[in-house]
C-alpha cells in the first residue's frame, strides 16, 4: 500500500531535472500498471490507508478496491505512453520553464491517481480541485495566445460550476449518513427525493467534467489549446475520472434507483455521441476535431452505463454487469486510442507547425511510424474490427439489444432508436477519420510545412507505439480486459461477468451464448488467410508489376496539391444535409475586386459554430426579449401557424382524454 503511494508521488520529487522526472514517471507508471494488474488478477485488493488530521472532518483515506485499481491501471497505462512521448516532445517543442512544466505534469498525474483512490469525500474534493487547477495551468501553459487564455478561463469556470454540484451531492449524502467516508455511503437507503437530487447533482457535476452534452462547451475550447501530451492526458484520462465517480455513485452508493434514471443517462449519452461526432465532422483543426470526438466517446460510455443502470434497476444483475463491462471497456479503450490520436496530432503539429488539417498532406511518406500509429488509432476509434474500439462498441450494441428484455414500452421503442443513433455515430466517426487520414496523411503535401516534415524522435515513436500495440492487443485478446473488469462487477453487482461472457476460449459473448458471440481473433485470422490466398493467387496467375507515374490531372498540366479534395469539401455534403443542425455559413467571394469578370480568384469560406454555445450566450437575451417575442410568435398572422395550433390542440386533447380514460 505504501509502495503505491510512494510510486504515485515519486516523480514529482524529480521536477528539478525535468528529463529525469519524465523518465521516473514512465517507470513508476509501468510499475503501477503491473502491480495493479497483478493485484486485480489475484484478487488481492481492498487494502486501505488512513491518515487522520487534526482538523475536523479532514481525513485522508486511500483505498484500493477493484474499481479504483482498474482506473489506476488506465491512468498509468496512458501516463506511461505519454511520459515516454514527452521525453522528446517537450524538448523538441522547446517549452520555456521545463522544470515548471515537469512539476505541473507529474503533480497532475499524481493528483489523478489520488482522485481515483480517495475513499473520503473531503480528500476526494481536495484532490479533485488540485487536479482541476493543475490542468488549468497546463491548458494555459502557452499563455501568450489569446485563444489559450479564453479556453482556459472557460474551462476553469465550467469545472468549478461542476464542482459546486458535486459538493451539493456530497453534502446531501453527508446529511443522510452523517459521514464523509465512502465506506458509510455504500448502498445507503435514501428517500426518493434525496435520491433524485443526488442523482441529478452527480449527473450535472461529473457530466460537466466528462464533457457530456449539453455541458461540453469547455471541452472543444480547452483541449485543443493545451500542449498535445497534456491534451492526451486530459482527454484520455481526466474526463474518465468523472465516469469513475458516476459508476461509483450509481452502482455503489445509490441503491434501488428507478428505471428512468438509467433512461436519462442513456438519452444524454446518445445525444452526446451524435452531437459530438457531427461537430467533429465539420472541424478542420485536428485537435479540436479530436476534442469533439471525446464528447462522442463519452456519449458511448454513458450509453453503456445507462443500459447497465436500466438492468440494475430492474434487478437483472447479470445483464447489468454486461452493460457495465461495455461502459468500462469503452472507457479503457477510449483512453488508449484518444491519447494515441492526440499524441499523433502533436507529432504532426510539431513537424508542420500548424493545426490546420488543410495544410497537411502526404505525411505518410515523411512520417511513416506516426502515420501507421495514427491509422491504427483511427480504425480503433471508428469502431472497425478487429481493434479494441470495435469490441466495446459491439458490447454496447448487445447491451442495448438486451435492454428489450425489460418490459417497459418506452424502453422497447426508444432503445432501438438509440442504437440506430449509435450506428449513425459510428458511421460518421468512420467518415470523419477517413477525412483526417485522407487529408493529412495521404495524397501530396499541401504546404511547405508538410513538405519539409520528417519523422519524430524515437521516444515519441515508442510512446505512440506502446498505445497502438495496446489497441491491437485489447482488440484481439479482449478477454484480458474482461478478466480485469470481472472483480468490479462482483464488487458492484455481485456477479462475475467473466464467467458468462468469456466462457469460450478467445471469444466474448453475451450472457446467453447463443444470443451472440464474437471472436476478433478468429476474424483477423480469417482476414489474414484471405489476404494470403489472394496474394498467392495473384503471384501465381496474375501480374505483380507496378508502374509509377504522375497523378492523372484530367488533362491539366499544373498538377499541384491544390487539386486535391479538401477537408471542408469532404464534409460539405453532410453539412448541407444536416443544415438545420449546423447552421452553416458558407460564402464564395472574389479575393480581388478587380478580377471580377476575367479569371477571378475565388475564396470559399465555410463556418459552422456550436449551437449549444450560442444557446448559452443567448439565454440572457432571450430572457429580456421573451415577452415581446412570445406575442409576436403566437399572433403572426400566418394561416399555417394557426393550422398548427389546431393540430397541437387536438393532440393535447387526445392526451388529456386518454389520461382521463385511464383514471
Amino acid at each position: 500500500m505504501l509502495i503505491y503511494i510512494f510510486l504515485m508521488v515519486l516523480p514529482v520529487l524529480f521536477f528539478l531535472k525535468s528529463k529525469a522526472a519524465f523518465i521516473v514517471q514512465a517507470f513508476s507508471s509501468l510499475a503501477l500498471l503491473i502491480f495493479s494488474a497483478v493485484l486485480l488478477l489475484k484478487h488481492e485488493y481492498n487494502s486501505i490507508f488512513m491518515f487522520h488530521s487534526s482538523l475536523p472532518y479532514l481525513d485522508f483515506s486511500i483505498k484500493l478496491d477493484s474499481l479504483s485499481l482498474l482506473f489506476v491501471m488506465i491512468i498509468s497505462t496512458i501516463s506511461l505512453g505519454v511520459s515516454a512521448y514527452s521525453l522528446n516532445y517537450v524538448y523538441d517543442e522547446d517549452y520555456h520553464h521545463k522544470r515548471l512544466f515537469a512539476f505541473i505534469y507529474t503533480a497532475f498525474i499524481a493528483s489523478l491517481l489520488f482522485v481515483v483512490t480517495s475513499f473520503n469525500a473531503i480528500s476526494f474534493l481536495i484532490f479533485w480541485e488540485i487536479m482541476s487547477t493543475l490542468s488549468f495551468f497546463l491548458v494555459i501553459y502557452n499563455y501568450e495566445n489569446e485563444e489559450n487564455r479564453q479556453g482556459g478561463f472557460l474551462y476553469i469556470f465550467m469545472t468549478h460550476l461542476g464542482t459546486a454540484f458535486i459538493m451539493v451531492a456530497f453534502i446531501l449524502m453527508y446529511l443522510k449518513t452523517g459521514s464523509f467516508s465512502f465506506e458509510n455511503w455504500v448502498h445507503v437507503e435514501l428517500d426518493s427525493s434525496t435520491k433524485f437530487w443526488v442523482f441529478l447533482c452527480v449527473l450535472i457535476g461529473f457530466g460537466t467534467k466528462a464533457g457530456m452534452f449539453p455541458l461540453h462547451v469547455w471541452l472543444p475550447k480547452a483541449h485543443p489549446v493545451a500542449p498535445s501530451n497534456v491534451s492526451a492526458l486530459m482527454s484520455g484520462v481526466m474526463i474518465k475520472t468523472a465516469i469513475y465517480m458516476m459508476i461509483r455513485f450509481y452502482f455503489y452508493f445509490l441503491s434501488d434507483i428507478p428505471w428512468w434514471y438509467g433512461f436519462i443517462v442513456l438519452l444524454l449519452g446518445s445525444l452526446s455521441a451524435l452531437f459530438g461526432v457531427m461537430y467533429a465532422l465539420a472541424q478542420h483543426d485536428l485537435k479540436r476535431l479530436l476534442a469533439y470526438h471525446s464528447i462522442e466517446n463519452i456519449g458511448i460510455i454513458l450509453m453503456g452505463l445507462g443500459s447497465a443502470m436500466l438492468f440494475n434497476s430492474n434487478h437483472m444483475p447479470l445483464l447489468a454487469s454486461f452493460g457495465l463491462l461495455a461502459a468500462i471497456f469503452h472507457t479503457y479503450n477510449h483512453a488508449i486510442f484518444k491519447s494515441l490520436l492526440f499524441l499523433g496530432s502533436g507529432a504532426t503539429f510539431l513537424k508542420t507547425h500548424t493545426k490546420d488539417m488543410e495544410k497537411y498532406g502526404g505525411l505518410i511518406k515523411l512520417m511513416p511510424y506516426t502515420a501507421l500509429f495514427f491509422i491504427i488509432g483511427s480504425i480503433s476509434i471508428s469502431a472497425l474490427p478487429p481493434f479494441n474500439g470495435f469490441v466495446s462498441e459491439w458490447l454496447t450494441y448487445q447491451s442495448l439489444l438486451l435492454n428489450n428484455k425489460i418490459d417497459i414500452n418506452i424502453i422497447h421503442i426508444f432503445v432501438p432508436l438509440f442504437a440506430s443513433m449509435l450506428a449513425l455515430t459510428g458511421a460518421f466517426a468512420a467518415a470523419c477519420f477517413v477525412k483526417v487520414i485522407g487529408i493529412s496523411f495521404l495524397g501530396s503535401p499541401r504546404s511547405d510545412g508538410a513538405k519539409n516534415a520528417n519523422e519524430v524522435g524515437k521516444y515519441m515513436i515508442w510512446g505512440m507505439g506502446f498505445l497502438a500495440a495496446l489497441c491491437v492487443l485489447f482488440g484481439l485478446f479482449s478477454h484480458i480486459v474482461i478478466a480485469l473488469v470481472a472483480p468490479i462487477t462482483s464488487l458492484l453487482l455481485g456477479v462475475d461477468v467473466s464467467s458468462s461472457t468469456s466462457s469460450h476460449l478467445f471469444m466474448i459473448s453475451t450472457p446467453n451464448f447463443a444470443f451472440g458471440h464474437l471472436s476478433t481473433l478468429g476474424l483477423s485470422i480469417g482476414f489474414a488467410v484471405g489476404i494470403f490466398i489472394l496474394y498467392i493467387l495473384i503471384k501465381k496467375f496474375g501480374n505483380t508489376k507496378t508502374r509509377m507515374c504522375s497523378t492523372w490531372g484530367c488533362g491539366q498540366l499544373n498538377n499541384d496539391a491544390s487539386n486535391q479534395y479538401t477537408a471542408s469539401g469532404f464534409s460539405q455534403p453532410i453539412r448541407r444535409i444536416f443544415a438545420f443542425f449546423y447552421h452553416p455559413k458558407e460564402k464564395i467571394y472574389p479575393t480581388l475586386r478587380k478580377k471580377k469578370y476575367f479569371f477571378p480568384t475565388l475564396e470559399y469560406k465555410a463556418h459552422s459554430h456550436d449551437g449549444v454555445e450560442s444557446v448559452y450566450t443567448l439565454v440572457l437575451k432571450v430572457f429580456v426579449k421573451s415577452s415581446a417575442y412570445l406575442i409576436n410568435l403566437i399572433e403572426n398572422g400566418s394561416i399555417h401557424i394557426y393550422l398548427l395550433y389546431i393540430l397541437i390542440t387536438s393532440i393535447a386533447f387526445l392526451v388529456y382524454a386518454v389520461r382521463g380514460g385511464v383514471n
Binding site: 469502431a383 439489444l401 450506428a423 459510428g426 485522407g438 489472394l534 504522375s550 479534395y565 455534403p573
Partner: protein
C-alpha cells in the same frame, strides 16, 4: 468433417455466383434496352483479364494503395463466410454475429475511401466523400432492420436468425417483416451502389460515387476492388433472400436435396438480380442531395417495422 465440407461449399457458392449476378444484371439491362450486351460471364473474364495487367500507380501514392485493395476484397469474402446458402453451419459463424458483420463491411468501405484519397487526384477524394456520406446515412436504417429481426428471432447470430426465420416467424409478423424488408431494399441499393442511389455505369463526375474512388485503380488492384463490390452485392442479396425472407427449399438430407437447394438459391438470387436491374431501368438516379431523403425514408420504414413488432 461433413459440416466443414458443407460450410466450404456454401462459402464457395456465394463467391462463385457473385460475378454472375453482376453479369446477369448487366445482361438484363442490355436486353430490355434492345441491345445484345456482353455475355453474363463477362465479369469473370474481366477479373482474369485485369489480373494479368500491370498496375499503374501515382507517384504520390503510399502503401495504402497496395494493401487497401486486398482488404476491400477480403472483407466481403470473410462476410460471405457468415452467410448460409442452405445450411445453418457456416464457415465463420463462430467469429461474429450480424452486428459485427455490419462493422466488418464498414472496414471495407473505410479502406476503399482511403484508397480514393491515396492517389492525390481530385476525383478520389470526391468519391470518398460521397461514399462515406451515403454509407453513413444507410447505417441507422440497417441497424434498425437488424434489431427488428434480431428481436424477432431472439438472437444476433446469423445462423440462429436463419434457423428461426425459416420457421414461421416471417408469417407471425407479416407487417413488421414486410416493412423491414422494404427498408432493407433501400439499404441494399445504397450499399451496393445501384440506381437510384448511385449509377454503376457512369463515369460522369457529377453523378459517380463508387466509380470515382476506383478511377485511378488498374490491373490487379481494380480486379480486387471489383471482386469486393461483386461479393458485397451478393452478400446483400443473400441477406435479403436467405436470412430475412427465407422462402425456399432448405434440405441437407442427401446430395440430391442439397443440389436442389442450391438450385433454388440460384433461382432466387437471379430473380432478385433481375428485379433490381428492372428497377434500375425504370427509375432515374436521384439527385445527390435527395439521397438523404431516400435513406431517411428507409429509416422510417424500419422504424415502423420495429414499432409494429415491439408495441
Amino acid at each position: 468433417m461433413q459440416t466443414l465440407l458443407m460450410a466450404l461449399l456454401q462459402f464457395f457458392i456465394i463467391l462463385g455466383i457473385s460475378p454472375f449476378i453482376a453479369g446477369l444484371m448487366q445482361k438484363t439491362k442490355s436486353l430490355i434496352r434492345g441491345s445484345i450486351g456482353p455475355s453474363v460471364f463477362q465479369p469473370y473474364f474481366n477479373i482474369v483479364k485485369l489480373m494479368k495487367k500491370e498496375v499503374v500507380l501515382s507517384n504520390q501514392s503510399s502503401y495504402i494503395s497496395i494493401i487497401a485493395p486486398y482488404i476491400v476484397a477480403v472483407v466481403p469474402i470473410t462476410v460471405a463466410g457468415f452467410l448460409p446458402v442452405f445450411d445453418s453451419n457456416t464457415l465463420m459463424s463462430f467469429s461474429g454475429d450480424i452486428i459485427a458483420m455490419v462493422y466488418i463491411l464498414a472496414l471495407g468501405t473505410f479502406f476503399l475511401a482511403l484508397f480514393g484519397f491515396d492517389q492525390g487526384s481530385s476525383f478520389g477524394g470526391l468519391g470518398s466523400s460521397r461514399e462515406m456520406t451515403v454509407a453513413s446515412l444507410a447505417e441507422p436504417a440497417f441497424i434498425m432492420v437488424i434489431f427488428t429481426f434480431a428481436l424477432q428471432s431472439n438472437s444476433t447470430n446469423i445462423s440462429h436468425i436463419f434457423d428461426s426465420m425459416r420457421g414461421d416467424i416471417f408469417f407471425n409478423y407479416p407487417v413488421s417483416s414486410t416493412l423491414a424488408l422494404m427498408a432493407l431494399y433501400f439499404v441494399t441499393l445504397a450499399e451496393a451502389g445501384r440506381i437510384p442511389i448511385d449509377n454503376p455505369e457512369t463515369h460522369l463526375e457529377l453523378t459517380m460515387i463508387h466509380e470515382a474512388m476506383i478511377l485511378d485503380a488498374s490491373g490487379r488492384n481494380l480486379a480486387l476492388l471489383e471482386i469486393g463490390s461483386f461479393v458485397k452485392t451478393t452478400i446483400f442479396l443473400t441477406l435479403f433472400s436467405n436470412i430475412f425472407m427465407p422462402l425456399g427449399f432448405y434440405d441437407t438430407n442427401n446430395i440430391w436435396t442439397i443440389g436442389f437447394s442450391i438450385f433454388i438459391y440460384f433461382i432466387k438470387m437471379s430473380t432478385l438480380g433481375v428485379i433490381i436491374a428492372i428497377g434500375e431501368l425504370t427509375l432515374a438516379k436521384l439527385r445527390y442531395f435527395r439521397i438523404s431523403d431516400a435513406m431517411m425514408f428507409g429509416f422510417v420504414l424500419a422504424l415502423i417495422s420495429m414499432v409494429t413488432y415491439r408495441l
